[in-house]
Assembly symmetry: C2
Amino acid sequence: MPELTTTSEPAFDHGLRRQALVRAILTDIFHGKYRAGQRLVTEALAQRFGVSHTPIREALIELGTSGIVNLLPNRGAVVRQVTARDVREVLQVRKVLECEAVRGAARRADPVRVAAIADDIRALAARPPGPEAVAVARDLDNTLHDYICAACGNSFLQSELARLRTLYQAFRDVTWDLEEARSDFHRLGVEAGEHLAITDALRARDPRAAVRAMTAHIRSGVKYWLQVSTNLAPS
Amino acid sequence: MPELTTTSEPAFDHGLRRQALVRAILTDIFHGKYRAGQRLVTEALAQRFGVSHTPIREALIELGTSGIVNLLPNRGAVVRQVTARDVREVLQVRKVLECEAVRGAARRADPVRVAAIADDIRALAARPPGPEAVAVARDLDNTLHDYICAACGNSFLQSELARLRTLYQAFRDVTWDLEEARSDFHRLGVEAGEHLAITDALRARDPRAAVRAMTAHIRSGVKYWLQVSTNLAPS
DNA sequence: ACGAGAGGGATTCTACAGAATCGGGTTGTC
DNA sequence: GACAACCCGATTCTGTAGAATCCCTCTCGT
């Protein structure tokens, strides 16, 4: 009898087994079940999930291509070490890509849509802080960045940012959960301000202001996340 | 008896078979052997390369995760439409990443190593043009970009650029092969000049000049590649 | 220290079974 | 007769299972 995962057991439908395994392994990694540097042995995973070694191997290849695990030839997969340095590095890459995206989006953005998002952000800021506000903020953050992504006019850039997002969103959710636990909601207001700076620039169709605002937003995020996440290995 | 690939048959070493297959299939796609929208049938590929369907399937998953082919559940892999627009998009992303890398490298580069590369570039420029010169130039291009990659101080950025490189190198090799066929080696001199501008900036540890030189280099590459490759679907 | 060898595990191959898709043909109804 | 629904079979993907082979690492004996 295979051990249950922390999440609900994924539906192992035919043709979707690999995808389900990717998600299951990913959540396990971010929940700390598999630690950095740990080897992911195909046979053990196969037993754990009650499947054969083939789809496990394929899921690991997919995770390897996305950079979540390291695939060493003839030595299998090991969970990537996620250090504070890694977070800085990923966010440095994300910064240049998001800036490029927002630069393109500033020339293409639909003012009506942007205004609607901005209204939502202002509505959020007027809300009493609390766990629900965090959830809404999370959604709004996704919405705004998704919209920029979609409006950047470069579908390859869009897909690259989507890939990075699986990484940084998992990280963000973890830190925001910590945040929630300590009932400190100051960050929400800061975020809202930064987001509004971006929407203002988009509505004004000012690429340079948009890049400036996005740079500030991500810089601020780096600083905050690194400060909150004391559970990460240093440097 | 498996048919020979257009390139030299890759070394299908144990543990590197998937990688070799990824490159081989990629090259074939860029050579037009597999056209956009065409289905890639695992069994056929297995026969063609003289391997079993297992590593083929894994290679297709890797290509799917990188976005070269579309993986439809239960319906296998189909070659993505690669248009001139796609090339522009990939190179736009590559541009911002390479610029970020060279900005970092300008603060870290080893003058001795850079000078050695610059000498090689000058030596190449003094050579008579010909197929061997193209091969050397290809190696030198790799060497310089690899060095910048390695010296950028961000290992995640380094791995991202490495991933992009499989894409654009396959594309570059194809266009250079076409070039070779028509015995037009003008591009080599232009490249050498652009490369020297980059090495000069690195030796002077001038990040802004380095970014300028890299931008010019990639812009020039985009223009050239798009002009040479008339076999790609437009826009 | 150093090399042979053992063992663990990755990688690949082979063979096969279940499932999804697609095309074509059949049947039933209007 | 026209047309839609249905069924069926071919093709191919997807996953299972076991075995063979290879690579890496670690240990043990010299």
